[in-house]
């Protein structure tokens, strides 16, 4: 770890040199990973990143400096550089950056694994990779398994955040992540490819819950059916049941991202983009119907994006992004909160010591309803059920989006029937949230790594939801 007194000295030094705000964040990220191909080891990887990121406000300009040399001289020099370079460009500031008056915390917290990451031996990791390969190969009857790659990563993130407003927050969050990528092949039908991911904060106890071997083998078998027997989706407008995995991705892309206040203000305009949401639309504009409620909550236990205090020292809490269709509450840091005339809701987060904290999602989900899957199906005469996906994208204002189904089925008279190959859900954000006609009651979460910022920083997130029914959708087909 780091000498906290040193961090406090750095903050004091920056203040003495003219910074109106200063923060010093120690961060250590240590990970161990294994990669295998077709049941054989490719290699193991160990990485450690440890350093201090210093952020200052000088004359309304924001400066950031990072170093992995943790002696007093190096930290002092980095702080002085952050101050002097921010000062050098402060004359260009037409609208000086200011922070809100949010209450910041002094706290320590730690996610305690039931089974420690270090107790997960390399032999056990390899054994899991072999079992997955064997089970997938064994599940196929008609298709050949062209290739299967497997990876398991364990990661411990430690932070100490100190700032000039009195915050002192220590945290330790371990995470586990397993991924499998495979390609099946039937010569006369072509190939089908799938990446499956499992991830959470906590310890190795998650592996039992995920049932990785059985889940992946089951998927492989189902995808063989899609590859061998998949038909084109109907051409006419039909009802579509969007599986929870895709719903989770949709809420991340089309509710979470457009409700990031830095995008709304234009700070990410040249990189991750802006938002269809404008400040005056908050609380006044309905993007969907009564079913459309999306929640962002860093405090979900086990969440891949779990935290209790953000990197500005602000306590985390659930935020309703969309509430019964209405744009409700954007994600804020202390800068955007000041611009919006409110208080930060604790969304500032950095993935390594060498990155500035920016507004990030954590665990984002569509609020579950009360319908069983059978109830969602029962009144559909003709429709499509899209359970999983590979290809997706969305435009830079988070309005025009596309998801290509992978494991998908035709629904006829309320029953799941033939598999459907490559159905395309290409909708606007308004189109999706206003066509919802039924919401399942089972909430499931999926891990992801969300990219944003420049330099880009990928942060772990969960996204989730129940299965959701849409009415009158024209389903496309990928080439």
């Amino acid at each position: 770890m780091v000498d906290e007194v040193l961090l406090e000295r750095v903050v004091d030094l920056a203040r003495s040199q003219g910074a109106t705000y200063a923060e010093a964040r120690f961060q250590e990220d240590a990970s161990e990973s294994l990669t295998m191909r077709n049941g054989r080891v490719l290699g193991v990887n160990t990485s450690v990143s440890r350093g201090v990121g210093i952020r200052v406000l000088v004359g309304g300009a924001l400066g950031f400096a990072a170093t992995n040399r943790l002696d007093q001289e190096s930290l002092t020099s980095a702080a002085a550089e952050a101050v002097s370079r921010a000062r050098a460009v402060s004359s260009l500031m037409r609208s000086p950056v200011e922070f809100d008056e949010s209450r910041v915390g002094r706290a320590s917290y730690e996610v305690v694994p039931k089974v420690k990451l270090e107790d997960y031996s390399i032999e056990d990791r390899i054994s899991l990779g072999k079992e997955v390969y064997s089970a997938v190969g064994g599940s196929l009857r008609q298709a050949k398994l062209s290739v299967l790659t497997f990876g398991v990563d364990t990661h411990i993130q430690k932070k100490v955040v100190v700032n000039s407003d009195g915050a002192l927050v220590r945290s330790t969050v371990p995470r586990v992540y397993v991924w499998v990528n495979f390609v099946e092949n039937i010569p006369e039908k072509g190939t089908i490819q799938r990446r499956v991911e499992f991830g959470a904060s906590g310890g190795i106890e998650w592996l039992k819950e995920w049932r990785v071997v059985d889940e992946v083998a089951e998927e492989a078998k189902n995808l063989e059916n899609v590859l061998a027997n998949g038909v084109e989706p109907p051409r006419e407008e039909v009802d579509v049941i969007v599986g929870s995995e895709i719903v989770g991705l949709i809420v991340h892309e089309s509710a979470g991202h457009p409700m990031e206040a830095d995008r709304i203000l234009g700070r990410e305009a040249a990189q991750a983009g802006e938002s269809y949401v404008k400040p005056e639309m908050i609380g006044r504009y309905s993007v969907g119907n009564k079913y459309a409620t999306v929640i962002e909550d860093p405090t979900v236990p086990g969440g891949y994006g779990f935290y209790l205090y953000d990197d500005e020292g602000v306590p985390a809490r659930p935020r309703y992004l969309y509430k019964e269709g209405m744009l409700h509450e954007p994600l804020h840091n202390r800068h955007t909160a000041k611009v919006f005339g409110t208080f930060s809701n604790g969304a500032a987060r950095a993935m390594t010591y060498a990155r500035e904290p920016i507004i990030r999602m954590s665990n984002t989900y569509f609020k579950p309803g009360d319908m069983s899957f059978e109830e969602l199906l029962e009144d559909i005469k003709l429709g499509v059920y899209m359970k999983s996906y590979m290809e997706w994208n969305i435009d830079d204002i988070r309005w025009n989006q596309r998801y290509v189904g992978l494991e998908s089925y035709l629904i006829v008279d309320g029953e799941i029937t033939k598999p459907v190959r490559n159905p395309v859900l290409e909708v606007t954000t308004g189109g999706f949230y206003s066509r919802i006609s039924g919401v399942g009651k089972v909430l499931r979460f999926y891990p992801g790594t969300c990219g944003k910022g420049e330099p880009s920083q990928g942060v772990p997130v969960w996204f989730g939801g129940p299965d959701v029914k849409l009415s009158k959708i024209k389903v496309g087909v990928a080439l």
Partner: protein, 442 residues
């Protein structure tokens, strides 16, 4: 401790415990100024060292990456990895580092002015922003990055080499009303005129958006800007890695050398020895001399890119593209053609000009099936004229179809690096026929 001393110390400490050891030490002194609403958003500074180790022992492979300050900590970690290795099975791609050669150094690629401007980037930022505002932009956002990178590679076979480079990466998005535009530039040297051009060229497209046009999904001829070409070729080049093929992450996995995979007019080169592009390298991470080479030459698939291990799998030599584990392209060059942007537009009866894209994602890497979304101005072309702008559209295609549909490339090329073009790419405008464009119906 200098890079060379650190690398030497690690090699001498480790070479008796491991049969193959490679060390890479990278130090970075860099500055990035982020701009939004015509003013600085944040000025970021980094000064740090990353040390990476490749360890091979009895056909086992481990990679260690550290951003920490103490060499002793690195050695302690290698002890732990050494103890772990007997428990790891033999790798499918064991390391056998190549015998050291004498890579010829690169002349150029370093500009002292880059560091001088890093202390005071204001004149460069003002040049970018003011040229955009003068050219008609109402609002700008972008980035200026200035960096010096020093890289040392040493191996247990006796190779030791160091090179340094500087880098300037600038991109600016401009806005006027409800349309936006973008341009980018990446180089190893500072050129104020080029930075002004980032602003003025970005803004110049805004004036072409006069009236809004209606878009109907379908197949059209498209003119793609160097920004789009750069983004898509980053994907194609990454899929030329031998490891990508082994992992089922490449549409080239079913191609043989000489197979036609693109229009005859198209050549894509990996160019580590181009010293104007900031991805330059005289040698790779295994100490092998780099060289410029076509991945696709006159429409035909020429070669995958390899490190020593993937080369052995494919019965080929290293192409000087290590990347331990995963070979990587350094700089990319799409060879120019004989046309121009204006003449390409004049050839199109019904189609679109797409300035910029992002979010390229694949449904199936083996099939090369992808889509990507336009994020700035898209202009309708009718009978050879730019007639109006449309909302964001999407290209949904297969890479091979797209490459084979290329009908023209411009003479003029542009050095592009930005958020969506991470591998520096010199690219022309491209005209491609009969490309599938989509958008949502609701």
């Amino acid at each position: 401790m200098s890079h060379e001393e650190l690398a030497g110390k690690l090699i001498s400490e480790l070479k008796d415990r491991f049969e193959n050891v490679a060390v890479k030490v990278v130090s970075r002194d860099s500055m990035m100024l982020k701009i939004w609403n015509n003013q600085p958003g944040v000025l970021q500074t980094w000064r740090d060292i990353q040390v990476s180790l490749l360890l091979g022992k009895q056909r086992r492979v481990a990679v260690l990456e550290f951003r920490v300050s103490s060499p002793d900590e690195l050695l302690a970690a290698t002890k732990r990895v050494g103890d772990l290795m007997p428990k790891v099975e033999e790798s499918e791609l064991p390391i056998e580092l190549p015998e050291p050669g004498k890579p010829s150094p690169l002349e150029g690629g370093y500009d002292r002015k880059v560091l001088e401007y890093a202390s005071d980037p204001k004149p460069l930022v003002e040049a970018m922003v003011s040229s955009a505002l003068s050219a008609g932009a109402e609002r700008t956002a972008g980035t200026l990055e200035l960096e010096e990178i020093n890289t040392t590679v040493a191996t247990s076979k006796g190779f030791e080499g160091t090179y340094r480079r500087t880098g300037v990466v600038a991109h600016l998005r401009t806005f006027k009303g409800d349309v936006s535009s973008h341009w980018a530039w990446g180089s190893t040297t500072v050129d104020t005129k080029k930075l002004e051009e980032v602003g003025s060229k970005s803004a110049s497209f805004l004036s072409l958006a006069k009236t809004k046009a209606f878009f109907e999904p379908g197949r059209y001829d498209v003119v793609l800007s160097p920004l789009v070409v750069g983004n898509l070729m980053n994907y194609v080049a990454s899929m030329s890695s031998g490891m990508a093929v082994l992992l089922g992450m490449s549409f080239l996995s079913r191609k043989k050398t000489g197979d036609p995979i693109a229009s005859e007019a198209f050549t894509l080169v990996d160019a580590p020895r181009d010293t104007l592009l900031p991805g330059l390298a005289p040698f790779d991470d295994e100490g092998v001399e780099t060289y410029n080479k076509p991945i696709i030459g006159q429409g035909r698939f020429i070669s995958l890119i390899h490190n020593a291990a993937t080369g052995r799998v494919f019965k080929a030599r290293s192409t000087g593209n290590a990347g331990w584990i995963n070979p990587r392209p350094w700089n990319l060059i799409v060879e120019p053609g004989t046309s121009s942007f204006e003449s390409m537009v004049s050839e199109v009866k019904r189609g679109y000009f797409i300035l910029n894209n992002w979010y390229t994602r694949l449904q199936n890497y083996v099939e090369g099936q992808f889509s990507t979304v336009a994020r700035d101005i898209v202009l309708e072309i009718r009978d050879g004229n730019l007639v109006g702008y449309v909302d964001r559209v999407r290209i949904a295609e297969k890479f091979e179809n797209l490459l084979k549909s290329i009908k023209g490339l411009s003479r003029e090329v542009y050095d592009i690096t930005w958020w969506e073009v991470r591998i520096p790419t010199r690219a022309p405008y491209i005209l491609a026929e009969n490309i599938n464009l989509t958008k949502p119906s609701i």
